[in-house]
Amino acid sequence: MRRSLALLVILVVIDVVLLFPGGREARSRDRSAAGARAPARVGLVFDVGGRGDRSFNDAAYAGMVRAERELGIEAELIEPGEGADRESAIRIFAARGFDLVIGVGFIFSNDLTLLAREYPRVHFACIDYAPPMRDGRPLPIPKNLVGLKFREEEGSFLVGAVAGLVSRSKVVGFVGGMDMPLIHKFEAGYRAGVGRVCPSCRVVVQYAGSTPAAFKDPVKGAALAVSQVGQGADVIFHASGSTGLGVMRVARDRHIRAIGVDADQFEDGLHPGSTTRSAVITSMVKRVDVVVYETIRAVIERTFRGGVRVFGLREHGVDYVHDSSHGRDIPAHVVRRVEELRASVIAGRIRVPEAP
């Protein structure tokens, strides 16, 4: 008893002594913040996946970093765990009077819709916004909230055309993550793109599951890819988060081509020992970084407008990798044909379906 008490006293003394040293970094940061007042304070709240997913969340982070560098904003981020922390994280930023709070992911739709009404002087943005339903009707979107949606089907349409044009076996595959309307848009666009350039091609479609876990199951992704290769597929497009890492690994091992999603996934399909040969022929990119950056700029320039905004090919919100070294495996005639299709979609001559 006496020994434990003595130990306790010693520990407390060490604790108190250790409170004071250190913190050069923190102090210098405070000074720089006080010196030049930032044009805007922006808070970014990540999805459960958080930073390091090499696609969606990382892209949003990249947009924020660029805004910090080029626009001189002051940015903070929170990576909440599950459930209640999401709302709390948004509220912490809003209550501190931030100019803009961004929720990365459809899962924030409900919280942001309610909190935007509570904090009318703060701007809010939600990526992949899906209006929350009450009694079968969508809730109206507040004026200080912008719901940012992407026409994933248009980008998927272009990579579908690439797949249809480069496939030799006339069988192409699609691996979806969670079986839900958002991912059905990828499937619908892909099918339409394949069908446009290769009416005789067959599209094999499989989903990894019906829960969010389906977005982080590379083993399942590999199993689905193997089964599609068995059915003759020689190009597979995945829209499945890190599940797709399994798809790209199989594509590498079986010497077929994979198409990445959300970000340029060239590096995830690199052949062993090579830095230039990748199984990933192209990726359907969703420019979450650009949209985050533009939203921050709109707040600074006081041109922010609420409501749902949709980014398609015309707005450069979606695209496919083709004009960098990572797209050099796409034959030139394929790029020409796909660029014609892009022009037709932008001009409205082709309407890409949202549901398969």
């Binding site: 209550a95 739709s109 969010p212």
Partner: protein, 340 residues
């Protein structure tokens, strides 16, 4: 006094490790701790959030403690509270809109308790009838229950389109926020359900000291063979203790569904049930201690958000783990300890 030394030591070690980690990431400990304090007990919203987060932790801790008093390790609180919360939400939204509030609350909360109790009783029966160890039983049942919930809460089944959540419960089945009585708590998620945790803590305390059932549970927990020789039926005690334990875990839905978002969201818990084990250990299995331990872990959990911008939030996870390790190390006799 003796009871307090172990937790105090644990917290002192935790602060020590915390200081070192904060220094390691190049920040000043005093600044980080003060940001943490300001974001939790420093304003009304923070206090409310701490209460909101402490409530399910306290309920899970009490759930674990009830089983532990009967000498049983309930690792299944996560599954019990998740299915309980889902049952609460489903009954709450299925009731006719004209249901009077006492009935609506009773039905919704009661559904949660029953669901939790059933999930808890299953490993109890398996142990009583077949001698299957309750640790294995409860862990495995967690997987089954959580998979079942994932399957149930999907669009086309119980979830709304493009979401992982159910429709909201009827207005009569909601529990008022504390901020409607104490405006200073403004915006925080704490509800009157916090009082439920206090009430259950008192009931547990009273039940173990003053009722026959409580006596049987504690006697069995202390010396199973002696209790059986004294005429206590082992099988009955095991099943009842596990059902009670699960039922208390099933109350979490009152706080996180009826008192907060009013709907069930897949994955809302994020490990509250497992933290309940830590809360029960740190609280020395005593109801008052459990309430205090839940407040501490609630503070750390909310504080993790507040300091997320300065240090990685994993720091808090490490600190919680250190507290638990230190407590376990400081008291090797936790397993057999009854309330006193």
């Amino acid at each position: 006094m003796r009871e307090l030394v172990a937790p105090a030591l644990a917290i002192a070690v935790c602060v020590l490790v915390g200081n070192l980690l904060i220094l390691a990431v190049g920040q000043q400990p005093l600044e980080v701790w003060s940001v943490l304090a300001a974001g939790t007990w420093g304003n009304g919203y923070g206090i409310g959030q701490v209460l909101f987060k402490a409530t399910p932790l306290a309920l899970a801790g009490l759930s674990v403690a009830i089983a532990l008093n009967a000498g049983l390790f309930n690792i299944g609180a996560e599954g019990q509270l998740s299915l309980g919360a889902l049952a609460t939400a489903v009954v709450g939204l299925a009731l006719p809109r004209s249901t009077p509030w006492p009935l609506a609350l009773f039905a919704a909360i009661g559904a949660g308790v029953i669901a939790g109790a059933v999930v808890g009783a299953i490993p109890g029966v398996l142990k009583a009838r077949f001698g299957a160890h309750e640790v294995i039983g409860t862990i495995m049942l967690n997987f089954i229950v959580l998979a079942l919930i994932n399957w149930l809460v999907a669009p086309g089944r119980l979830a709304q389109p493009e979401s992982q959540s159910t429709a909201p419960v009827i207005a009569a089945a909601t529990i008022p926020r504390l901020s409607s009585f104490v405006p200073a708590l403004g915006g925080s998620a704490a509800s009157l359900a916090a009082l439920l945790a206090v009430a259950v803590a008192w009931l547990t305390h009273f039940g173990f000291r003053r009722t026959t059932l409580g006596y049987e549970l504690v006697a069995f927990g202390l010396r199973p063979a002696a209790a059986e020789a004294g005429g206590i039926r082992a099988g009955r005690v095991i099943v009842v203790a596990m059902a009670l334990s699960g039922g208390v875990a099933g109350l979490v839905g009152a706080n996180n569904v009826l008192g907060y978002k009013h709907y069930f969201e897949a994955g809302f818990s994020g490990g509250i049930g497992f933290m309940g084990l830590a809360v029960a250990l740190l609280g020395r299995n005593h109801p008052l201690g459990i309430l205090l331990a839940a407040l501490l872990f609630g503070t750390l959990s909310q504080g993790a958000l507040a300091i997320n911008g300065v240090v990685p939030k994993e720091l808090i996870d490490v600190l919680q783990a250190i507290v638990i390790l230190a407590v376990v190390a400081a008291s090797s006799d936790v397993l057999r300890r009854g309330t006193r």
